[in-house]
Protein backbone atom coordinates (compact mmCIF):
# COMPACT_ATOMS: atom_id res chain seq x y z
CA UNK A 1 0.00 0.00 0.00
CA UNK A 2 1.23 3.47 -0.83
CA UNK A 3 0.51 6.99 0.30
CA UNK A 4 0.48 9.58 -2.46
CA UNK A 5 0.94 13.07 -1.09
CA UNK A 6 0.58 15.98 -3.47
CA UNK A 7 1.02 19.72 -2.94
CA UNK A 8 -0.98 21.62 -5.51
CA UNK A 9 -2.33 25.10 -6.20
CA UNK A 10 -5.54 25.70 -4.23
CA UNK A 11 -7.45 26.84 -7.29
CA UNK A 12 -6.65 23.51 -8.94
CA UNK A 13 -8.19 21.35 -6.25
CA UNK A 14 -11.49 20.99 -8.04
CA UNK A 15 -9.83 19.95 -11.29
CA UNK A 16 -7.68 17.42 -9.46
CA UNK A 17 -10.68 16.00 -7.66
CA UNK A 18 -12.46 15.65 -10.95
CA UNK A 19 -9.52 13.97 -12.65
CA UNK A 20 -9.18 11.56 -9.73
CA UNK A 21 -12.89 10.88 -9.77
CA UNK A 22 -12.70 10.06 -13.48
CA UNK A 23 -9.97 7.58 -12.58
CA UNK A 24 -12.29 6.14 -9.95
CA UNK A 25 -10.23 7.38 -7.04
CA UNK A 26 -12.66 8.93 -4.63
CA UNK A 27 -11.06 8.77 -1.24
CA UNK A 28 -8.60 11.32 -0.02
CA UNK A 29 -7.77 13.75 2.74
CA UNK A 30 -7.08 17.40 2.07
CA UNK A 31 -5.32 19.99 4.21
CA UNK A 32 -4.29 23.60 3.90
CA UNK A 33 -0.59 24.11 3.63
CA UNK A 34 1.84 26.90 3.02
CA UNK A 35 4.68 26.27 0.66
CA UNK A 36 8.11 27.56 -0.18
CA UNK A 37 9.63 26.48 -3.41
CA UNK A 38 11.04 27.59 -6.70
CA UNK A 39 8.06 29.92 -7.07
CA UNK A 40 9.84 32.13 -4.60
CA UNK A 41 6.86 34.12 -3.41
CA UNK A 42 5.73 37.51 -4.48
CA UNK A 43 5.85 41.03 -3.19
CA UNK A 44 2.83 42.91 -2.01
CA UNK A 45 2.70 46.28 -0.42
CA UNK A 46 0.86 46.94 2.79
CA UNK A 47 0.50 50.55 3.79
CA UNK A 48 3.30 51.44 1.44
CA UNK A 49 5.71 48.88 2.80
CA UNK A 50 6.92 46.03 0.66
CA UNK A 51 5.75 42.75 2.02
CA UNK A 52 7.63 39.67 0.93
CA UNK A 53 5.19 36.80 0.89
CA UNK A 54 7.23 33.66 0.58
CA UNK A 55 4.94 31.13 2.06
CA UNK A 56 2.39 30.56 -0.64
CA UNK A 57 -0.97 28.95 -0.18
CA UNK A 58 -1.01 25.37 -1.28
CA UNK A 59 -3.34 22.48 -0.77
CA UNK A 60 -2.05 19.13 0.33
CA UNK A 61 -3.80 15.97 -0.81
CA UNK A 62 -3.15 12.58 0.71
CA UNK A 63 -4.39 9.45 -0.95
CA UNK A 64 -3.80 5.98 0.43
CA UNK A 65 -3.86 3.46 -2.36
CA UNK A 66 -3.05 -0.03 -3.31
CA UNK A 67 0.10 -0.39 -5.39
CA UNK A 68 -1.60 -0.75 -8.74
CA UNK A 69 -3.51 2.51 -8.44
CA UNK A 70 -0.47 4.67 -7.81
CA UNK A 71 0.36 5.35 -11.43
CA UNK A 72 -3.26 6.21 -12.23
CA UNK A 73 -3.43 8.55 -9.29
CA UNK A 74 -0.21 10.35 -10.24
CA UNK A 75 -1.39 10.82 -13.78
CA UNK A 76 -4.75 12.12 -12.66
CA UNK A 77 -3.14 14.60 -10.28
CA UNK A 78 -0.80 15.86 -12.98
CA UNK A 79 -3.71 16.15 -15.37
CA UNK A 80 -5.69 18.26 -12.93
CA UNK A 81 -2.91 20.33 -11.43
CA UNK A 82 -0.47 21.14 -14.18
CA UNK A 83 -0.39 24.62 -15.65
CA UNK A 84 3.23 24.47 -16.75
CA UNK A 85 4.14 27.43 -14.60
CA UNK A 86 6.40 27.50 -11.60
CA UNK A 87 4.45 26.65 -8.47
CA UNK A 88 2.50 23.69 -9.80
CA UNK A 89 3.68 21.54 -6.92
CA UNK A 90 5.07 18.13 -6.14
CA UNK A 91 3.93 14.58 -5.66
CA UNK A 92 5.60 12.30 -3.11
CA UNK A 93 4.98 8.58 -2.75
CA UNK A 94 5.67 6.77 0.52
CA UNK A 95 5.05 3.33 1.90
CA UNK A 96 2.16 2.38 4.13
CA UNK A 97 2.76 -0.61 6.33
CA UNK A 98 -0.68 -1.07 7.74
CA UNK A 99 -4.09 0.36 7.02
CA UNK A 100 -7.14 -0.05 9.24
CA UNK A 101 -10.71 1.01 8.64
CA UNK A 102 -11.95 2.17 12.01
CA UNK A 103 -15.61 1.44 11.36
CA UNK A 104 -15.14 -2.25 10.60
CA UNK A 105 -11.67 -2.84 12.00
CA UNK A 106 -10.82 -4.43 8.65
CA UNK A 107 -7.16 -4.29 7.86
CA UNK A 108 -4.95 -4.18 4.81
CA UNK A 109 -5.73 -3.72 1.14
CA UNK A 110 -9.47 -4.09 1.49
CA UNK A 111 -9.51 -1.37 4.12
CA UNK A 112 -7.93 1.24 1.97
CA UNK A 113 -10.68 1.83 -0.59
Amino acid sequence: MKLVTAYIRPEKLNDVKEALGDADIKKMSVTNSLGCGQQGGYTETYRGVDMQINLLKKVRIEIALNEDYVETAINAIIKGAKTGNIGDGKIFVTDIIRCIRIRTEEEGEKAIG
Binding site: E11, N14, N32, Y46
Partner: protein, 447 residues
Amino acid sequence: MRNKLTGLLLILFSASGLFAESPELSESVKESFFALDNLFIFFCAVLVIFMQPGFALVETGFNSSKNAVNILFKNVIDLCVGVLLYFFVGYGLMYGAPIIEGFFAWGGSGIADFDGVVEGGALLPQVDFLFQVAFAATAATIVSGAVAGRLNFKAYLIYSAVITGLIYPISGFWKWGGGWLDAMGFYDFAGSIVVHSVGGFAGLAAAIVLGPRIGRFAKDGTPKAIPGHNLPLATLGVFILWVGWFGFNPGSQLAIAGKANTEAVMLIATNTTLAAAAGGLFAMILTWILHKKPELSMALNGILAGLVGITANCDGVTNIEAIIIGSVAGILVVLGVKMLDRLRIDDPVGAWPVHGLNGLWGGIATAIFAEYGPIEEGSSIIYGNTIAQLTGSIVIPIWAFVTMFLLFLVLKKIGILRVSREEELKGLDIGEHGEEAYNGFQIFTIE
Protein backbone atom coordinates in the same frame (compact mmCIF):
# COMPACT_ATOMS: atom_id res chain seq x y z
CA MET B 1 -39.46 63.77 -1.10
CA ARG B 2 -38.84 67.36 -1.71
CA ASN B 3 -41.96 68.15 -3.62
CA LYS B 4 -44.01 67.63 -0.55
CA LEU B 5 -42.49 70.74 0.85
CA THR B 6 -45.02 72.93 -0.86
CA GLY B 7 -47.99 71.44 0.89
CA LEU B 8 -46.17 71.53 4.14
CA LEU B 9 -45.19 75.13 3.88
CA LEU B 10 -48.78 76.03 3.24
CA ILE B 11 -49.89 74.57 6.53
CA LEU B 12 -47.18 76.38 8.38
CA PHE B 13 -47.75 79.64 6.66
CA SER B 14 -51.32 79.74 7.73
CA ALA B 15 -50.29 78.92 11.26
CA SER B 16 -47.69 81.63 11.31
CA GLY B 17 -50.19 84.16 10.05
CA LEU B 18 -51.79 83.97 13.44
CA PHE B 19 -48.79 85.25 15.31
CA ALA B 20 -49.72 88.84 14.69
CA GLU B 21 -49.77 90.07 18.25
CA SER B 22 -46.25 89.27 19.40
CA PRO B 23 -43.93 89.36 16.42
CA GLU B 24 -40.64 88.75 18.23
CA LEU B 25 -42.05 85.90 20.22
CA SER B 26 -43.57 84.32 17.15
CA GLU B 27 -40.19 84.73 15.45
CA SER B 28 -38.69 82.66 18.23
CA VAL B 29 -41.34 80.01 17.94
CA LYS B 30 -40.64 79.78 14.26
CA GLU B 31 -36.96 79.47 15.00
CA SER B 32 -37.67 76.55 17.27
CA PHE B 33 -39.78 74.83 14.60
CA PHE B 34 -36.98 75.53 12.19
CA ALA B 35 -34.32 74.10 14.50
CA LEU B 36 -36.48 71.07 15.25
CA ASP B 37 -37.09 70.16 11.66
CA ASN B 38 -33.51 70.68 10.64
CA LEU B 39 -32.28 68.73 13.64
CA PHE B 40 -34.66 65.96 12.74
CA ILE B 41 -33.36 65.74 9.18
CA PHE B 42 -29.80 65.92 10.41
CA PHE B 43 -30.50 63.02 12.74
CA CYS B 44 -32.11 61.07 9.91
CA ALA B 45 -29.26 61.86 7.53
CA VAL B 46 -26.80 60.42 10.03
CA LEU B 47 -28.89 57.26 10.21
CA VAL B 48 -29.05 56.94 6.44
CA ILE B 49 -25.28 57.41 6.15
CA PHE B 50 -24.95 54.70 8.77
CA MET B 51 -26.65 52.38 6.28
CA GLN B 52 -23.47 52.40 4.23
CA PRO B 53 -21.59 50.07 6.62
CA GLY B 54 -24.78 48.04 6.80
CA PHE B 55 -24.60 47.39 3.08
CA ALA B 56 -20.86 46.82 3.28
CA LEU B 57 -21.26 44.14 5.93
CA VAL B 58 -24.18 42.36 4.31
CA GLU B 59 -22.43 42.16 0.98
CA THR B 60 -19.10 41.19 2.48
CA GLY B 61 -20.58 38.55 4.74
CA PHE B 62 -22.59 36.97 1.93
CA ASN B 63 -19.54 36.51 -0.29
CA SER B 64 -16.28 34.58 -0.14
CA SER B 65 -13.51 35.75 2.11
CA LYS B 66 -11.18 36.08 -0.84
CA ASN B 67 -13.25 39.02 -2.14
CA ALA B 68 -13.93 40.75 1.16
CA VAL B 69 -11.47 43.61 0.80
CA ASN B 70 -12.72 44.33 -2.67
CA ILE B 71 -16.35 44.51 -1.57
CA LEU B 72 -15.56 46.64 1.44
CA PHE B 73 -13.48 48.94 -0.70
CA LYS B 74 -16.33 49.37 -3.16
CA ASN B 75 -18.65 50.37 -0.36
CA VAL B 76 -16.11 52.78 1.04
CA ILE B 77 -15.20 54.41 -2.21
CA ASP B 78 -18.66 54.70 -3.70
CA LEU B 79 -19.55 56.82 -0.72
CA CYS B 80 -16.47 58.99 -1.24
CA VAL B 81 -16.99 59.28 -4.98
CA GLY B 82 -20.74 59.58 -4.56
CA VAL B 83 -20.52 62.44 -2.10
CA LEU B 84 -18.22 64.41 -4.39
CA LEU B 85 -20.03 63.65 -7.63
CA TYR B 86 -23.44 64.35 -6.17
CA PHE B 87 -22.07 67.58 -4.78
CA PHE B 88 -20.68 68.75 -8.08
CA VAL B 89 -23.31 67.35 -10.45
CA GLY B 90 -26.06 65.10 -9.13
CA TYR B 91 -27.73 67.39 -6.63
CA GLY B 92 -28.08 70.10 -9.25
CA LEU B 93 -29.57 67.67 -11.73
CA MET B 94 -32.08 66.27 -9.29
CA TYR B 95 -33.41 69.42 -7.72
CA GLY B 96 -32.72 72.06 -10.34
CA ALA B 97 -34.80 74.28 -12.53
CA PRO B 98 -36.26 72.39 -15.49
CA ILE B 99 -34.39 72.63 -18.77
CA ILE B 100 -36.48 70.08 -20.63
CA GLU B 101 -39.77 70.48 -18.82
CA GLY B 102 -40.43 67.52 -16.55
CA PHE B 103 -37.48 65.51 -17.83
CA PHE B 104 -34.24 67.26 -17.20
CA ALA B 105 -33.15 70.01 -14.90
CA TRP B 106 -30.07 71.85 -13.73
CA GLY B 107 -29.64 73.83 -10.58
CA GLY B 108 -25.96 74.52 -10.61
CA SER B 109 -23.02 72.77 -9.01
CA GLY B 110 -22.67 72.62 -5.24
CA ILE B 111 -25.12 73.71 -2.58
CA ALA B 112 -27.05 76.96 -2.78
CA ASP B 113 -27.35 79.40 0.09
CA PHE B 114 -30.46 79.38 2.20
CA ASP B 115 -32.78 82.13 1.11
CA GLY B 116 -35.97 80.84 2.68
CA VAL B 117 -37.87 82.07 5.67
CA VAL B 118 -36.91 80.70 9.07
CA GLU B 119 -39.86 78.54 9.97
CA GLY B 120 -40.94 74.94 10.36
CA GLY B 121 -40.36 72.77 7.32
CA ALA B 122 -37.80 75.10 5.82
CA LEU B 123 -34.79 72.87 5.41
CA LEU B 124 -31.33 74.29 5.12
CA PRO B 125 -29.76 73.31 1.81
CA GLN B 126 -26.70 71.99 3.64
CA VAL B 127 -28.65 69.39 5.57
CA ASP B 128 -30.93 68.69 2.67
CA PHE B 129 -27.85 67.85 0.62
CA LEU B 130 -26.58 65.58 3.36
CA PHE B 131 -29.85 63.69 3.49
CA GLN B 132 -30.10 63.48 -0.31
CA VAL B 133 -26.53 62.36 -0.84
CA ALA B 134 -27.06 59.49 1.56
CA PHE B 135 -29.94 58.34 -0.64
CA ALA B 136 -27.82 58.60 -3.75
CA ALA B 137 -25.09 56.55 -2.08
CA THR B 138 -27.65 53.91 -1.18
CA ALA B 139 -28.83 53.57 -4.76
CA ALA B 140 -25.22 53.22 -5.89
CA THR B 141 -23.98 50.77 -3.31
CA ILE B 142 -26.75 48.24 -3.87
CA VAL B 143 -25.01 47.21 -7.06
CA SER B 144 -21.73 46.33 -5.41
CA GLY B 145 -23.27 43.18 -4.00
CA ALA B 146 -24.64 42.02 -7.33
CA VAL B 147 -21.28 42.27 -9.08
CA ALA B 148 -19.23 40.81 -6.25
CA GLY B 149 -16.40 38.46 -7.05
CA ARG B 150 -15.73 39.35 -10.66
CA LEU B 151 -16.09 43.04 -11.53
CA ASN B 152 -12.95 45.03 -12.23
CA PHE B 153 -12.42 47.70 -9.59
CA LYS B 154 -11.88 50.43 -12.19
CA ALA B 155 -15.17 49.54 -13.81
CA TYR B 156 -16.85 49.94 -10.45
CA LEU B 157 -15.40 53.39 -9.99
CA ILE B 158 -16.74 54.46 -13.37
CA TYR B 159 -20.13 52.90 -12.71
CA SER B 160 -20.32 54.53 -9.34
CA ALA B 161 -19.57 57.99 -10.71
CA VAL B 162 -22.16 57.59 -13.48
CA ILE B 163 -24.97 56.40 -11.25
CA THR B 164 -24.58 59.03 -8.52
CA GLY B 165 -23.70 61.78 -10.96
CA LEU B 166 -26.25 61.11 -13.68
CA ILE B 167 -28.60 58.16 -13.72
CA TYR B 168 -30.04 58.37 -10.22
CA PRO B 169 -30.42 62.17 -10.18
CA ILE B 170 -32.15 62.27 -13.55
CA SER B 171 -34.84 59.74 -12.69
CA GLY B 172 -34.91 61.19 -9.20
CA PHE B 173 -35.86 64.51 -10.75
CA TRP B 174 -38.80 62.93 -12.55
CA LYS B 175 -40.40 62.29 -9.20
CA TRP B 176 -38.79 64.17 -6.35
CA GLY B 177 -37.58 67.10 -8.38
CA GLY B 178 -41.17 67.66 -9.50
CA GLY B 179 -40.79 66.15 -12.97
CA TRP B 180 -43.28 64.37 -15.19
CA LEU B 181 -43.88 61.35 -12.96
CA ASP B 182 -44.73 63.60 -10.08
CA ALA B 183 -47.07 65.57 -12.31
CA MET B 184 -49.04 62.49 -13.21
CA GLY B 185 -49.51 61.55 -9.57
CA PHE B 186 -46.83 58.91 -9.16
CA TYR B 187 -46.09 58.50 -5.49
CA ASP B 188 -42.99 57.10 -3.90
CA PHE B 189 -42.66 58.31 -0.38
CA ALA B 190 -39.09 57.41 0.47
CA GLY B 191 -37.86 55.61 -2.61
CA SER B 192 -38.93 52.00 -3.13
CA ILE B 193 -38.74 52.86 -6.80
CA VAL B 194 -36.69 56.05 -6.95
CA VAL B 195 -33.84 54.63 -4.87
CA HIS B 196 -34.10 50.89 -4.38
CA SER B 197 -35.41 49.72 -7.71
CA VAL B 198 -32.82 51.92 -9.40
CA GLY B 199 -30.07 50.13 -7.49
CA GLY B 200 -31.70 46.74 -7.86
CA PHE B 201 -32.22 46.96 -11.59
CA ALA B 202 -28.80 48.48 -12.18
CA GLY B 203 -27.48 45.46 -10.29
CA LEU B 204 -29.50 43.12 -12.47
CA ALA B 205 -28.12 44.70 -15.62
CA ALA B 206 -24.61 44.37 -14.25
CA ALA B 207 -25.11 40.74 -13.24
CA ILE B 208 -26.40 39.85 -16.69
CA VAL B 209 -23.66 41.59 -18.64
CA LEU B 210 -20.95 40.25 -16.34
CA GLY B 211 -22.18 36.67 -16.30
CA PRO B 212 -22.01 34.40 -13.29
CA ARG B 213 -18.98 33.69 -11.14
CA ILE B 214 -16.93 30.64 -12.12
CA GLY B 215 -18.52 27.59 -10.53
CA ARG B 216 -21.82 29.28 -9.76
CA PHE B 217 -23.64 27.16 -12.33
CA ALA B 218 -22.57 23.67 -13.35
CA LYS B 219 -22.06 22.93 -17.00
CA ASP B 220 -25.62 21.65 -17.17
CA GLY B 221 -26.90 24.86 -15.65
CA THR B 222 -27.64 23.54 -12.17
CA PRO B 223 -27.02 26.30 -9.70
CA LYS B 224 -24.28 25.61 -7.18
CA ALA B 225 -24.03 27.51 -3.95
CA ILE B 226 -21.06 29.71 -3.15
CA PRO B 227 -21.81 30.31 0.49
CA GLY B 228 -21.12 33.52 2.35
CA HIS B 229 -18.06 33.55 4.56
CA ASN B 230 -19.16 35.60 7.55
CA LEU B 231 -22.78 35.44 8.63
CA PRO B 232 -22.21 37.34 11.89
CA LEU B 233 -21.06 40.34 9.89
CA ALA B 234 -23.96 39.96 7.47
CA THR B 235 -26.43 39.81 10.35
CA LEU B 236 -24.91 42.86 11.96
CA GLY B 237 -25.21 44.57 8.59
CA VAL B 238 -28.93 43.81 8.38
CA PHE B 239 -29.51 45.13 11.89
CA ILE B 240 -27.61 48.30 11.00
CA LEU B 241 -29.71 48.69 7.87
CA TRP B 242 -32.89 48.22 9.88
CA VAL B 243 -31.74 50.96 12.26
CA GLY B 244 -30.66 53.15 9.35
CA TRP B 245 -34.08 52.80 7.80
CA PHE B 246 -35.44 54.83 10.72
CA GLY B 247 -33.66 57.71 9.04
CA PHE B 248 -34.59 56.69 5.52
CA ASN B 249 -38.35 56.47 5.91
CA PRO B 250 -39.30 58.79 8.78
CA GLY B 251 -36.82 61.36 7.55
CA SER B 252 -38.53 61.49 4.19
CA GLN B 253 -41.38 63.28 5.89
CA LEU B 254 -38.83 66.14 5.89
CA ALA B 255 -40.32 67.71 9.00
CA ILE B 256 -41.40 66.67 12.45
CA ALA B 257 -42.79 69.83 13.98
CA GLY B 258 -46.52 70.38 13.71
CA LYS B 259 -49.02 67.77 14.71
CA ALA B 260 -49.50 66.37 11.22
CA ASN B 261 -45.77 65.89 10.79
CA THR B 262 -45.20 64.42 14.21
CA GLU B 263 -47.96 61.92 13.65
CA ALA B 264 -46.75 61.04 10.19
CA VAL B 265 -43.20 60.43 11.36
CA MET B 266 -44.25 58.06 14.10
CA LEU B 267 -46.69 56.12 11.93
CA ILE B 268 -43.93 55.74 9.35
CA ALA B 269 -41.46 54.50 11.95
CA THR B 270 -43.82 51.86 13.29
CA ASN B 271 -44.96 50.75 9.86
CA THR B 272 -41.33 50.36 8.85
CA THR B 273 -40.68 48.13 11.85
CA LEU B 274 -43.77 46.02 11.35
CA ALA B 275 -43.01 45.42 7.68
CA ALA B 276 -39.44 44.44 8.46
CA ALA B 277 -40.55 42.00 11.11
CA ALA B 278 -43.18 40.46 8.87
CA GLY B 279 -40.73 40.21 5.98
CA GLY B 280 -38.19 38.36 8.11
CA LEU B 281 -40.76 36.02 9.57
CA PHE B 282 -42.41 35.08 6.31
CA ALA B 283 -39.15 34.60 4.46
CA MET B 284 -38.09 32.24 7.23
CA ILE B 285 -41.36 30.32 7.14
CA LEU B 286 -41.25 29.94 3.38
CA THR B 287 -37.66 28.68 3.33
CA TRP B 288 -38.48 26.37 6.18
CA ILE B 289 -41.24 24.83 4.08
CA LEU B 290 -39.26 24.76 0.86
CA HIS B 291 -35.84 23.69 2.17
CA LYS B 292 -36.87 21.86 5.35
CA LYS B 293 -34.66 24.13 7.46
CA PRO B 294 -35.04 27.71 8.53
CA GLU B 295 -32.26 29.63 6.80
CA LEU B 296 -30.71 32.70 8.38
CA SER B 297 -29.51 34.24 5.18
CA MET B 298 -32.99 34.21 3.67
CA ALA B 299 -34.60 35.55 6.84
CA LEU B 300 -32.12 38.43 6.68
CA ASN B 301 -33.03 39.07 3.07
CA GLY B 302 -36.68 38.93 4.12
CA ILE B 303 -36.20 41.73 6.62
CA LEU B 304 -34.56 43.89 3.98
CA ALA B 305 -37.32 43.00 1.54
CA GLY B 306 -39.97 44.11 4.01
CA LEU B 307 -38.11 47.37 4.52
CA VAL B 308 -37.85 48.03 0.79
CA GLY B 309 -41.49 47.15 0.19
CA ILE B 310 -42.81 49.58 2.79
CA THR B 311 -40.56 52.43 1.72
CA ALA B 312 -42.86 53.88 -0.95
CA ASN B 313 -46.02 53.84 1.09
CA CYS B 314 -45.18 53.85 4.79
CA ASP B 315 -46.93 57.16 5.32
CA GLY B 316 -50.18 56.11 3.70
CA VAL B 317 -50.98 52.65 5.04
CA THR B 318 -52.25 51.33 8.35
CA ASN B 319 -50.21 49.14 10.67
CA ILE B 320 -52.02 46.05 9.47
CA GLU B 321 -51.43 46.94 5.85
CA ALA B 322 -47.77 47.43 6.67
CA ILE B 323 -47.66 43.90 8.03
CA ILE B 324 -49.29 42.59 4.87
CA ILE B 325 -46.89 44.49 2.63
CA GLY B 326 -43.95 43.16 4.60
CA SER B 327 -45.21 39.60 4.53
CA VAL B 328 -45.64 39.64 0.78
CA ALA B 329 -42.17 41.13 0.45
CA GLY B 330 -40.74 38.30 2.53
CA ILE B 331 -42.29 35.77 0.22
CA LEU B 332 -41.36 37.63 -2.96
CA VAL B 333 -37.70 37.78 -2.02
CA VAL B 334 -37.48 34.01 -1.66
CA LEU B 335 -39.19 33.51 -5.00
CA GLY B 336 -37.02 36.17 -6.59
CA VAL B 337 -33.86 34.40 -5.52
CA LYS B 338 -35.20 31.17 -6.99
CA MET B 339 -36.15 32.92 -10.21
CA LEU B 340 -32.65 34.28 -10.76
CA ASP B 341 -31.26 30.79 -10.21
CA ARG B 342 -33.61 29.50 -12.90
CA LEU B 343 -32.49 32.22 -15.26
CA ARG B 344 -28.85 31.49 -14.40
CA ILE B 345 -28.23 35.02 -13.32
CA ASP B 346 -25.69 35.26 -10.53
CA ASP B 347 -26.59 37.92 -7.98
CA PRO B 348 -24.51 36.87 -4.96
CA VAL B 349 -26.36 38.87 -2.32
CA GLY B 350 -29.85 39.00 -3.79
CA ALA B 351 -29.63 42.68 -4.71
CA TRP B 352 -32.35 42.34 -7.31
CA PRO B 353 -34.82 40.24 -5.27
CA VAL B 354 -34.43 42.58 -2.32
CA HIS B 355 -34.18 46.01 -3.91
CA GLY B 356 -35.36 45.52 -7.49
CA LEU B 357 -38.29 43.17 -7.15
CA ASN B 358 -39.43 44.52 -3.81
CA GLY B 359 -38.88 48.06 -4.94
CA LEU B 360 -41.42 47.25 -7.64
CA TRP B 361 -43.67 45.66 -5.07
CA GLY B 362 -43.45 48.79 -2.96
CA GLY B 363 -44.49 50.94 -5.91
CA ILE B 364 -47.43 48.74 -6.72
CA ALA B 365 -48.47 48.20 -3.11
CA THR B 366 -48.80 51.96 -2.94
CA ALA B 367 -51.57 51.81 -5.50
CA ILE B 368 -53.22 48.89 -3.74
CA PHE B 369 -53.07 49.96 -0.10
CA ALA B 370 -52.12 53.57 0.35
CA GLU B 371 -54.43 56.53 0.26
CA TYR B 372 -53.41 60.03 -0.65
CA GLY B 373 -55.05 63.26 -1.59
CA PRO B 374 -54.83 65.10 -4.92
CA ILE B 375 -51.45 66.37 -6.01
CA GLU B 376 -52.66 69.95 -5.74
CA GLU B 377 -55.69 71.40 -4.18
CA GLY B 378 -58.48 71.17 -6.70
CA SER B 379 -56.59 68.84 -9.01
CA SER B 380 -58.31 65.68 -10.16
CA ILE B 381 -55.05 63.77 -10.15
CA ILE B 382 -54.65 61.67 -7.05
CA TYR B 383 -51.20 60.78 -5.73
CA GLY B 384 -50.72 57.05 -5.91
CA ASN B 385 -53.28 56.41 -8.63
CA THR B 386 -52.90 53.05 -10.30
CA ILE B 387 -51.84 54.29 -13.70
CA ALA B 388 -49.21 56.58 -12.29
CA GLN B 389 -47.91 53.86 -9.98
CA LEU B 390 -47.65 51.35 -12.80
CA THR B 391 -45.99 53.89 -15.04
CA GLY B 392 -43.45 54.95 -12.45
CA SER B 393 -42.78 51.43 -11.29
CA ILE B 394 -42.05 50.36 -14.84
CA VAL B 395 -40.34 53.38 -16.32
CA ILE B 396 -37.76 54.05 -13.61
CA PRO B 397 -36.56 50.44 -13.37
CA ILE B 398 -36.32 50.32 -17.16
CA TRP B 399 -34.38 53.58 -17.18
CA ALA B 400 -31.90 52.21 -14.67
CA PHE B 401 -31.69 48.82 -16.32
CA VAL B 402 -31.20 50.04 -19.87
CA THR B 403 -28.70 52.81 -19.15
CA MET B 404 -26.67 50.56 -16.89
CA PHE B 405 -26.84 47.66 -19.31
CA LEU B 406 -25.36 49.91 -21.95
CA LEU B 407 -22.71 51.24 -19.61
CA PHE B 408 -21.58 47.76 -18.60
CA LEU B 409 -21.65 46.69 -22.24
CA VAL B 410 -19.33 49.54 -23.12
CA LEU B 411 -17.03 48.63 -20.24
CA LYS B 412 -17.02 45.08 -21.55
CA LYS B 413 -16.15 46.24 -25.06
CA ILE B 414 -13.19 48.26 -23.85
CA GLY B 415 -12.13 45.25 -21.84
CA ILE B 416 -12.21 46.55 -18.30
CA LEU B 417 -15.39 44.90 -17.12
CA ARG B 418 -14.31 41.61 -15.64
CA VAL B 419 -11.16 40.41 -13.98
CA SER B 420 -9.20 37.50 -15.43
CA ARG B 421 -10.16 33.94 -14.69
CA GLU B 422 -7.02 33.47 -12.64
CA GLU B 423 -7.67 36.57 -10.59
CA GLU B 424 -11.24 35.52 -9.98
CA LEU B 425 -10.14 32.12 -8.69
CA LYS B 426 -7.49 33.58 -6.43
CA GLY B 427 -9.82 36.30 -5.27
CA LEU B 428 -10.04 39.98 -6.07
CA ASP B 429 -8.44 40.99 -2.79
CA ILE B 430 -5.03 39.84 -3.89
CA GLY B 431 -5.65 40.57 -7.54
CA GLU B 432 -7.02 44.10 -7.33
CA HIS B 433 -5.67 45.35 -4.04
CA GLY B 434 -2.78 43.16 -2.91
CA GLU B 435 -4.41 42.93 0.49
CA GLU B 436 -6.04 40.09 2.33
CA ALA B 437 -9.05 40.56 4.56
CA TYR B 438 -8.04 38.04 7.21
CA ASN B 439 -4.29 37.87 7.39
CA GLY B 440 -3.06 34.81 9.18
CA PHE B 441 -6.37 32.95 9.23
CA GLN B 442 -6.32 29.56 7.61
CA ILE B 443 -9.05 29.70 5.05
CA PHE B 444 -10.10 27.05 2.66
CA THR B 445 -11.70 28.96 -0.15
CA ILE B 446 -11.98 26.07 -2.52
CA GLU B 447 -14.85 23.69 -2.89
